[in-house]
């Protein structure tokens, strides 16, 4: 007892006796702070990410057919969508899964992705004109005529603008790169005869414009669309983080699509407006300055050079209004809209806020802010499992976002779709639909395609703004299977579906919410077994696994942290080793004296080890304290997500780390382990110090 007390006392008194110990202590302190803070941040990251993933799409568990080639990747993976084997009837697995006492809800799902073409401005205007002609066919009124004439003027104005653009482009290009056929078409569209003869066959004239002229305007965008087909009503009840932003939810039993707010803003909003929004947010939220930020300067420059999108949208009347408003705002007498716009979009830190407000107050009312309006129908063309293209029209009911992940691109890239439409796009139909299709095919085989349908087949869906642009595949589809358009319309007419329809059809995977998430692992095993017993072998994966690459990020973060900790402690081991070695050499005489007056080797070993342990404990405890305070501080202030892509992982714009006992315990265990480990060799050397060393004199 007395010996141990003495050793502890010696250890404590030696603590600050040597600068070497202070260095060792410093390293241990730093290491502990890192382990505590890093551990707490990673754990909190894990937790917030699990909140994001579980509460938005994944649920606690995901199940899919065991026969699937790939493993499920809810957020997509590098090679495109995972190839999952379909589960023929959702109700079969639902029954099995819901028998487990820990299962709260099972939500059917399927994910797929495709590209959309967001319509360009010419297309939009032509579509509107086509609508008017259709109305006029039913009975022309003077009002209608006036609208038609106005739109026609708008189109002519656009063609004039387009020609100017092309001339400018050709002047820049070394050789004339224009297709002669396009040139001829453009010449024709510019000619007086074309417009004089327009009314004779307006639809044929429109066709020329749509097929020949519209493609010359290159402001249409390819929009990536990933969509999750699900039981929307059930989904909304289960995933509490989902929130409708604009528009409404898809009514029960209806087909429909909900776009993520983020994508809606990013891909469908007027680009000029979107750029201004981004700059505004950068200035307001992130306190960036236009003068210092090349990215913001680039966006402003784009607003000045890419005014065509605005010019195209404005018909002659609105052009006059816009000129008048801009003249007033700018105090200019210029009469050319383009120049006025360039002047207006010349912004800096001083005038930005005012101009931003003026833009929305003066110009936006004259423009279409979004290229896709809520309530419009969208034609989605996707490839089925077997690889042929299929299209479906879905009405866009609204936009949604996940609470806390409003700015996350990752969370904001998945649209929600009713599962019936999803199945159709994926190449599966309910039994009823199959019957119906058989009947329809029979019918269409004997009768000619009606004039209405033929037109639809040639020009795509009525009133669909995007159908025309994503034309290639649709038209081919229509030509390949003459009945498909008819069938689709028929189906849309019968588009109401029941819970029965949802439950009886195919699904690719399903989300499971648990009553008690703590027993997740055990439930996984039990569900897997239950499904096997029921003859429907399922793979049951946790949300972690289901989110694939995204789920791995936390793993990567942990690995990075552990690697950093490992490196720091390897360095620490080396330094501590050397330092204790030096300290031992400095104390050779003292150790020799102890040995001479009767201390055994074990005593010396214990002494050196205890000293480092005390060192580790004292500085480790100090580090743990410091780290805890740091975590507390971070927990109150929050770690800002310095990039929007982090919002998803932070489950919001800031991460508020919390401290757990395990963080401190881990840190102390590591520190003590490291200090003990790095002292073994020097301690062993110390035991080899000969008592003869005591006899050395000072000289």
């Amino acid at each position: 007892m007395g010996q141990l007390k003495l050793l502890v006392q010696v250890a404590f008194r030696n603590l600050f006796a040597s600068w070497v110990n202070v260095i060792i202590g410093g390293i241990i302190l730093f290491g502990t702070v890192l382990v505590v803070v890093g551990g707490a941040v990673v754990d909190s990251l894990d937790e917030s990410m699990s909140r994001s993933i579980i509460g938005s799409v994944a649920g606690h568990l995901q199940v899919y057919s065991e026969k699937s080639k790939d493993s499920l990747a809810l957020y997509g993976n590098m090679g495109g969508e995972a190839d999952l084997r379909v589960i023929e009837r959702f109700s079969d697995i639902k029954k099995v899964l819901e028998q487990h006492p820990n299962v709260k809800t099972v939500v059917p799902m399927g994910t797929n992705s495709t590209m959309l073409m967001s319509g360009n401005t010419v297309d939009l205007t032509l579509a509107r004109l086509r609508d008017l002609y259709k109305q006029a066919a039913a009975g022309e009124t003077p009002e209608l005529r006036a609208q038609i004439d106005s739109l026609k003027t708008h189109v002519r104005q656009m063609i004039a603008l387009l020609e100017k653009d092309l001339e400018r482009r050709n002047a820049l290009a070394a050789e004339n790169a224009m297709d002669p056929a396009d040139l001829r078409a453009l010449e024709r569209a510019r000619s007086q005869e074309f417009w004089d003869g327009f009314e004779k066959d307006p639809l044929a004239s429109l066709e020329l414009l749509e097929n020949r002229i519209a493609p010359l305007v290159t402001d249409g965008d390819m929009v990536p669309l990933r969509y999750l087909g699900t039981d929307l009503v059930n989904y909304q009840k289960t995933f509490d983080r989902m929130r409708i932003v604009d528009g409404t939810a898809v009514p029960e039993g209806q087909r429909g699509l909900l776009l993520p707010k983020f994508s809606y803003e990013e891909f469908f909003k007027l680009k000029t407006a979107r750029r201004l929004d981004i700059i505004k947010e950068a200035r307001d939220v992130n306190h960036r300055k236009i003068a210092e930020d090349p990215e913001l300067q680039r966006r402003l420059k784009e607003n000045q050079t890419q005014t065509r999108e605005l010019l195209f949208q404005l018909d002659p009347l609105k052009t006059q209004q816009a000129i008048a408003r801009l003249q007033k705002v700018l105090g200019s007498t210029d009469t050319e809209l383009e120049k006025l716009l360039v002047a207006f979009f010349t912004m800096d830190d001083a005038n930005f806020d005012a101009r931003y407000q003026q833009f929305y107050a003066e110009l936006v009312p004259l423009l279409d802010l979004y290229r896709l309006r809520l309530g419009d129908e969208l034609t989605i063309t996707a490839f089925t499992r077997t690889g042929y293209a299929r299209s479906a029209n879905v009405k866009v009911y609204g936009t949604f976002e996940f609470t806390g992940m409003e700015k996350s691109q990752l969370a904001g890239s998945l649209s929600l779709m009713d599962i019936i439409t999803f199945r159709e796009l994926y190449g599966y139909m309910t039994a009823d639909q199959k019957d119906e299709l058989a009947k329809l095919q029979e019918a269409s085989g004997v009768t000619d395609v009606a004039r209405e349908d033929a037109e639809a087949a040639l020009f795509g869906e009525d009133s669909s703004l995007v159908a025309e642009t994503s034309s290639g595949s649709i038209d081919e589809d229509a030509q390949l299977a003459g009945s498909s358009q008819a069938r689709r319309q028929q189906e849309l007419a019968l588009s109401k579906y029941t819970q029965q329809d949802i439950d009886d059809g195919v699904v690719l995977h399903a989300a499971i919410m648990l009553k008690d998430p703590d027993t997740l692992e055990q439930t996984m095993v039990e569900l897997q077994e239950a499904s096997k017993k029921a003859g429907l072998p399922l793979k049951v994966v946790s949300w972690h696994q289901a989110s694939d690459l995204v789920g791995q990020i936390i793993l990567v973060a942990k690995l990075v942290l552990y690697a950093a900790v490992f490196i720091i402690f390897v360095v620490a081991v080396v330094i501590i080793n050397n330092s204790v070695m030096m300290a031992t050499l400095q104390r050779v005489r003292e150790i020799g004296t102890m040995r001479a007056i009767g201390a055994h080797r074990g005593f010396v070993l214990g002494m050196v080890l205890l000293e480092t342990t005390v060192l580790g404990l004292v500085f480790g405890a100090a580090g743990a304290l410091l780290g805890s305070l740091a975590v507390k501080g971070l927990g109150m202030a929050g770690i800002p997500a310095f990039h929007e892509s982090l919002y998803f992982f932070f489950s919001g714009p800031r991460l508020f780390p919390t401290l757990q006992a395990s963080n401190i315990i881990t840190a102390l265990v590591i520190v003590l382990g490291v200090s003990a480990f790095s002292t073994f060799y020097p301690a062993y050397l110390a035991t080899r110090v000969s008592p003869l060393q005591a006899m050395q004199t000072d000289e």
Binding site: G2, Q3, L6, Q9, V10, R13, N14, A17, R589, E590, T593, M594, R595, A596, I597, G598, A599, H600, R601, F603, S690, P691, L692, A694, M695, T697, D698
Partner: protein, 253 residues
């Protein structure tokens, strides 16, 4: 060689060296330190080992103190042949039988005066805390440092430090105390006091002392002076004879 009879009645020597040879190897050169040394020391003796530098004084003390081993010959301490003992047994022998006083005091700098003296008792684990305290305080009183128990070595003078070292060497009541040049780092008055202290303890406790010294005044206190030259015993004489011999040596130069 003049052989003196033992002072005390015991007739078994506490230290017995027989034909001891010690050779150090420095690189490829073999340096002989002792070349066949034989010496018996009886309990209660107060013996000074004298001789010029390099004569083998320190080596002889190291061998007696069991901190070094002989190349050949027999070193026996307290009746045990040290060659037959393990490292552990040698340590125990040092702990229980021998006390050390060093030229440079060799106190543990982070420990107080009290703790330095208590240290060997803690290693022994024989006494309970109360007995320990009694023993330590008695010795500190004897060396006149009972007022300085809480001081650290660096707060003491050289003489005070060496007195702490004496107390530490004697606290276990060893049969034998070895002191290599105990006064070399002290001024002559202080050195004198230390020798007086050692002598007093020798008389009171009957502890055997073997110490090496250059100092004729210090030698004066010894029962016998063993003179070494070139790793061998030159003679074993009385302090008075030694005094004379040294005076003659000084004249010779």
């Amino acid at each position: 060689m003049t052989q003196l009879t033992a002072v005390s009645g015991a007739n078994r020597p506490i230290v017995s060296l027989t034909d001891v040879i010690k050779t150090y190897t420095l690189g490829k050169v073999e340096v002989p330190a002792l070349r066949g040394l034989s010496l018996d020391v009886y309990p209660g003796e107060f013996i000074s080992i004298a001789g010029p530098s390099g004569s083998g004084k320190t080596t002889a003390l190291n061998l007696i103190g069991c901190v070094d081993t002989a190349s050949s010959g027999v070193v026996s301490v307290d009746g045990q042949d040290t060659k037959t003992l393990s490292e552990r047994q040698l340590t125990d022998l040092r702990l229980h039988t021998i006390g050390f006083i060093f030229q440079s005091f060799n106190l543990v700098s982070v420990l107080s005066v009290y703790q330095n003296v208590e240290f060997p008792l803690l290693l022994q684990r024989k006494l309970n805390p109360k007995e320990r305290e009694q023993r330590v305080m008695t010795l500190l009183e004897q060396v006149g440092l009972d007022k300085h128990v809480k001081h650290r070595p660096n707060e003491l003078s050289g003489g005070q430090r060496q007195r702490v070292a004496v107390a530490r060497a004697l606290v276990t009541r060893p049969k034998l105390v070895l002191a290599d040049e105990p006064t070399a780092n002290l001024d002559s008055v202080t050195g004198q006091n230390i020798i007086d202290l050692m002598k007093e303890l020798n008389r009171k406790e009957g502890t055997t002392f073997i110490f090496s010294t250059h100092d004729a005044k210090v030698m004066n206190h010894a029962n016998a002076v063993v003179r070494l030259a070139d790793g061998k015993i030159l003679d074993r004489i009385t302090p008075a004879e030694a005094q004379k011999a040294m005076a003659a040596g000084a004249e010779g130069h």
